[in-house]
């Protein structure tokens, strides 16, 4: 795209981020270090990718969860929150455990979607090792199949406290 087309696009679009809803109550036992800044590492433990699309939208320009201090990072070493989606499959059990182990304390695990909290529609599957809380300690669960971006945003705002 040429510079002028980008300029026109910027002028036409302006601000697409929706205005911020009222801040939800922060988590009761939130580590004090994390207030205002939370780096998020996402782990797909065996999801159908429905939750991923909603998480992508939460970090997109319309919901813009970055304004509350949450940011996606490329390494668990940089992260404070491990965002887990999907049932935990046998093959992803070990990688999930290692990812959580590689995240420096204080850390939180957030399970996103019905599959992550109770195996959802995949509960009888032969490749399923269990729900996320059966493998690692979960601090917060976001219900929904899939949960909407506003639910993901609200969960992350409860962690950042903003």
């Amino acid at each position: 795209m040429s510079v002028f087309r980008v300029l026109r696009l910027i002028r036409r679009v302006g601000r697409i981020a929706e205005s911020a809803p009222a801040a939800p109550d922060p988590l009761p036992d939130l580590p004090r270090e994390l207030t205002g800044s939370v780096q998020v590492r996402h782990v797909d433990a065996g999801s159908c990718n429905g939750c991923e699309i909603e998480i992508g939208a939460a970090f997109g320009p319309v919901y813009d969860v970055e304004r509350y201090g949450a940011r996606l990072v490329a390494s668990p070493r940089h992260a404070d929150v491990v965002l887990v989606t999907g049932v935990v499959t046998h093959n992803m059990r070990e990688p999930l455990l290692r990812t959580v182990e590689a995240t420096p304390r204080p850390r939180l695990v957030v399970a996103v979607g019905d599959c992550a909290s109770n195996c959802g529609m995949f509960s009888a599957g032969y490749g399923v090792a269990g729900a996320v809380h059966e493998v690692v300690d979960v601090d917060l669960e976001v219900p929904g199949c899939p949960p909407g971006p506003e639910a993901v945003v609200e969960a992350l705002r409860r962690v950042t406290g903003r």
């Binding site: 980008v6 813009d64 970055e66 201090g69 996606l72 990072v73 070493r77 940089h78 420096p104």
Partner: protein
Amino acid sequence: MSGSEAGVNLPALTVALSQVVVLVVLSPLVIGLMRTVRARLEGRVGGGLGQPFRDVRKLLAKEPIRAKGTSWLSVAGPLVLMASSLVVCALMPLLGTVTFDRMPDDLFVVVSVLLLGTVAVALVGLDAGTAFGGMGSSRHMTIAALVEPTVLLAVYALSIPVGSSVLSRIVAARLEDPTSVFSPVSLLALLALAIAVVAETGRLPVDNPATHLELTMVHEAMVLESSGRDLAWLELGSWLRLGALLGLLATLLAPWGVVTEVSAPGLLLAALALSVKLTVAATLLATVEVFVAKVRLFRVPELLAGSFVLAFLAVTASYLVAPG
């Protein structure tokens, strides 16, 4: 000054310390401003100016996890980068042109201190032995090897009319004769320096600081294995480098506000002038970044060769137009 008998250059020390303090405050704000400008142009709201401060405060409070098999380099590397960045901040003539006699802010001193930090980060990337870390380090050193000659040559071109490679003297000469800023030599050299600074600090189009794709990473790939306070020093150290180098560029282009003699109101005014210059430079850089994409790694040498040619032309031109 009574302290000068003991070998302490008090005015230079005052300038150096105030530059360190001012840049430690301003550099995270510059990063926050650049992210906000980018976010606004993309239709988002963004994390706000204070977000980098919150990030660093949190990282400093977290436990660092070091991978199995890492050596003392993983601990020392981030500290060396931070220390080299602080020395660069202290040396640059950003607030005042008063400099130490024994260790002036000579071009070669500044570039070698910068290179010390560059090598430290590259070693941190190699230390954990991961594939991405080594890849990032190799790319980082390739870019550094292409950038350093351009920086040296560009500032050398500026130093020829002044007759000294000390940055303070160059800025002082520009304060005395503001028309020299807009001479062809100066503009060519500053353009070359601007491209080199963008490459050195890992901004678009050479490196994308917001990338999540390991294959395209340069700086991010090297710090993938660092956490907690190690990561905090790496982040703050590279922000300080960006602040100092952008500040140098802005000061060379607009030297007004820099003090030649130390006084409290003068330094305060200089700090104000520096924040205005950094605001303008950061806004401009972030705006340009919205319009460009990262170039392919194999095109980076072409870009840097272009800037080297500009610097070379500046040197040639400075000899041609030099009086006598």
